[in-house]
């Protein structure tokens, strides 16, 4: 055997041994990674949420749901650093809004409530909502106040464990809550519902509200 052949055969043997050890390790020793996974997020209850009045802060001051007593309110929970879910739903809401008649527009109000009050100041909420050009009011408040409002509507949110402490994401439910003129929660629309479907829902409730 030449030196080269020796080196090659030793190399191959070592590689083979390593491969066997690995296969043994992978199949025999259970991985423990599952233990590190975070606990499952708070479940969304199947019970119908009660809804109800709330007061939160916008750039121009306090707003209560009851301030919009003569309007159909569309309520959405999210956050301004939201990379995809919120821009999708707020974009769809905006499209629906812009295709309404002026009379219809004056009879509805879209509210965007943050689930990330640590970063979403009233000023930031105002800048963000303005972009969507649908007369949306952006609302924030203390952690406790936000928690209380989301609970009333059955909305849930959770900050999963992540490396980036500043540019973090928040998991959250993404329903659009439809609240009638009397402040009663009527229905909730799922995430990614089309602008056309939002518009149909708005028209259905606006017509219902006219006929007592």
């Amino acid at each position: 055997m030449t030196n080269t052949q020796k080196t090659v055969s030793i190399g191959l043997s070592l590689f083979g041994a390593l491969l066997l050890a690995c296969l043994f390790y992978l199949f025999i020793e259970p991985t423990k990674d599952t233990e590190k996974n975070p606990p499952p997020p708070q479940a969304i209850t199947s019970e119908k949420p009660t809804g109800g009045n709330f007061t939160l802060t916008a750039l121009d001051g306090q707003h209560s749901l009851s301030d919009f007593k003569d309007k159909l309110v569309l309520l959405y929970f999210g956050y301004t650093y939201c990379p995809d879910i919120c821009p999708t739903d707020l974009g769809n809401l905006s499209m629906a809004y812009q295709h309404l008649t002026d009379a219809e527009k004056s009879n509805i109000q879209i509210l965007f409530v943050t689930v990330d009050p640590a970063r979403d100041t009233a000023k930031r909420m105002a800048e963000y909502t303005q972009y969507f050009n649908a007369n949306i009011i952006g609302l924030t408040g203390t952690e406790q106040k936000i928690a209380a409002v989301t609970q009333k509507y059955g909305a849930v949110y959770l900050k999963p464990e992540q490396e980036n402490k500043e540019n973090y994401t928040v998991d959250h439910s993404a329903f659009i809550y439809v609240i009638d003129k009397n402040g009663q929660l009527q229905t909730q629309l799922p995430h990614a519902i089309s602008p056309q479907q939002i518009q149909n829902t708005i028209r259905t409730y606006l017509t219902q509200d006219k006929t007592p």
Binding site: L18, L19, C22, A43, T80, G91, L158, D171, S173
Partner: protein
């Protein structure tokens, strides 16, 4: 610590085995992927990220994995998906998007998407964005796409898919 070392060594070894056993003479997966209707969503003000969407069609007899996206317009680009867990939307990074043999995979709002994280300049409607897609065999494809506002994405009267841009 030892656990990690063992896992890493094994991953490397098995990776080498896979690489050796699936040696391909040509890295040509990119040639079998056709990209249609690509666009990047305009960023709302102050947004730390935005996303690119498109339809990927695979004309080959084998599934192809898109394993990486890279771009000059943001500090990072990642492959992401959303898991709808009983209404709770969870965004997570994924290692690849698989495009089935003779099938297609859609990257769309609320689903699979290419996340552009920490854009270097604001990504605004009217601009174009270039993203390089890298496939499992190392072949890549450059996609240049328009930036569209969220307010111009739905409510279309016609469907793009009704009229294919490619007549063979």
């Amino acid at each position: 610590m030892i656990h990690h070392l063992k896992t890493t060594t094994c991953a490397l070894t098995l990776g080498l085995v896979t690489a050796l056993s699936s040696t391909q003479l040509f890295a040509d997966q990119a040639k079998h992927i056709e990209v249609s209707d690509p666009f990047t969503r305009e960023m709302p003000p102050g947004s730390p990220a935005t996303a690119s969407f498109m339809t990927l069609k695979n004309s080959s007899d084998h599934a192809i994995k898109l394993v990486k996206a890279s771009t000059q317009v943001s500090k990072k680009a990642e492959l992401h998906t959303h898991i709808n867990d009983n209404g709770m939307m969870q965004m997570r990074e994924v290692p690849f998007f698989e495009i089935p043999a003779h099938g297609q995979t859609q990257l769309q709002p609320g689903g699979n998407h290419i996340m552009l994280i920490s854009p270097i300049q604001p990504i605004q409607a009217g601009k174009t964005v270039s993203v390089t897609l890298t496939f499992e065999d190392g072949s890549s494809k450059n996609v240049t796409m328009p930036v569209k506002s969220v307010m111009n994405m739905g409510m279309k009267n016609g469907n793009h898919d009704d009229h294919s841009h490619h007549h063979h």
